[in-house]
Symmetry: C2
Subunit: 224 residues, 2 copies
């Protein structure tokens, strides 16, 4: 496994954040056997301007063909590679309440480059339960399990008070990237990536558009 110089090419974080969105549209198009997509159409599906799309994709070395656009399958493969999703990343989920259960059986993970290989919860009523091929284990097993299975990505779906200690256990066990669904801010050492998912963000964006349509004055901005 040698480091590749192309890896060092800097892709801006904002571009990285849009790549999964482009990939989702491309996957849908591929399922419909669409062979080519214009930059305008692909950009519109994600809500950016086509100039932005072309700039984003230029970071991957993808430039499309004038008058034809991008080849759907090729571009999907390029984005999949750029995101590192040719790996089939082993993922652990900690916290097997309703959200943990929902995530463990979320088919989107499987089809998009991830394998759920370990599940943890300290509730004795959950330990031992099987979801698909995986049995829920107590979180005391995190260290042994993470090393054995080479887990790099951990998902935290515990209540807020448990999240930091779970995070510490994951990091101590070699996990380098954490997706945090718990409503709490996690402290991690340098070099560990944490992304926090707040399920209310999307509702808030919808509320903005809903109030504008309804013309509600109580939602207006009062300039200072």
């Amino acid at each position: 496994m040698t480091a590749d110089p192309t890896l060092r090419r800097e892709i801006p974080d904002a571009t990285v954040a849009r790549l999964p969105e482009y990939l989702r549209t491309l996957t849908t198009l591929a399922e419909k056997s669409v062979a080519f997509v214009s930059s305008e159409e692909l950009a519109a599906s994600v809500g950016v301007r086509s100039a932005q799309l072309r700039k984003d994709l230029s970071h991957l070395g993808s430039y499309g063909v004038r008058g034809v656009g991008y080849e759907v399958e090729t571009l999907a493969l390029e984005i999949t590679r750029a995101l590192g999703l040719t790996q089939n990343w082993p993922v652990a989920i900690v916290g097997m309440g309703n959200l943990g259960h929902a995530l463990a059986s979320y088919s989107g993970f499987v089809t998009k480059g991830f394998r759920i290989v370990a599940l943890f919860d300290d509730d004795p009523s959950h330990v031992g339960e099987r979801i698909g091929d995986v049995s829920i284990r107590p979180s005391a097993d995190i260290a042994a399990c993470a090393r054995e299975l080479g887990i790099t990505i951990g998902v935290i779906a515990t209540p807020a008070p448990a999240a930091q200690s779970v995070c510490d256990a994951l990091v101590a066990s070699g996990v380098r990237a954490i997706l945090n669904f718990a409503p709490s801010v996690l402290s991690v050492p340098p070099g560990i990536d944490v992304r926090r998912v707040d399920l209310s963000t999307e509702l808030q964006i919808l509320a903005f558009h809903a109030q504008r349509k309804l013309g509600l004055t109580s939602g207006t901005v009062v300039p200072r």
Copy 2:
């Protein structure tokens, strides 16, 4: 209820998408009794440049004070108003599997301007079950219930095959904004907003950063 001219001020979609992120940071700061935040600090918490932050907030008429920054509580209130979250929007969730249950008991919704007022599922083993103050009803009740409770925002957490018919029922009942967790693309009439949540997007972004740190060559981009 009169339309207010300030409502017509165009706020770009990309700005709207960042407002909940700014609000999340401001809420955390307010909880810690922090009175002021610099544009640099607030921008960094969301991963944008401070020039972008200032431009975003200028759409709300918020300009901050040079050398002092933004007053945390005032700015939080302005964003809350801009997003229309002073309403306490009544929300319905359809599909009460694990994800629906997780969403129904998600405390983040309650604190952020939303009230879950109706839950629907067609599984007889779920109908009648209470989550908090709300009983799960059969989806045949969507129309009556949505009108009675003035529901404007619907959350779809059903399996993919049921999502379109649920969406149609919600729209026919006056719902104007839909948050779709089902892995399917919904057709809606003009004027209805749909946002699709794909829980794998955040994992894909993490995978990108993880592969770069690990220096995996299989994740590199092969320029054409």
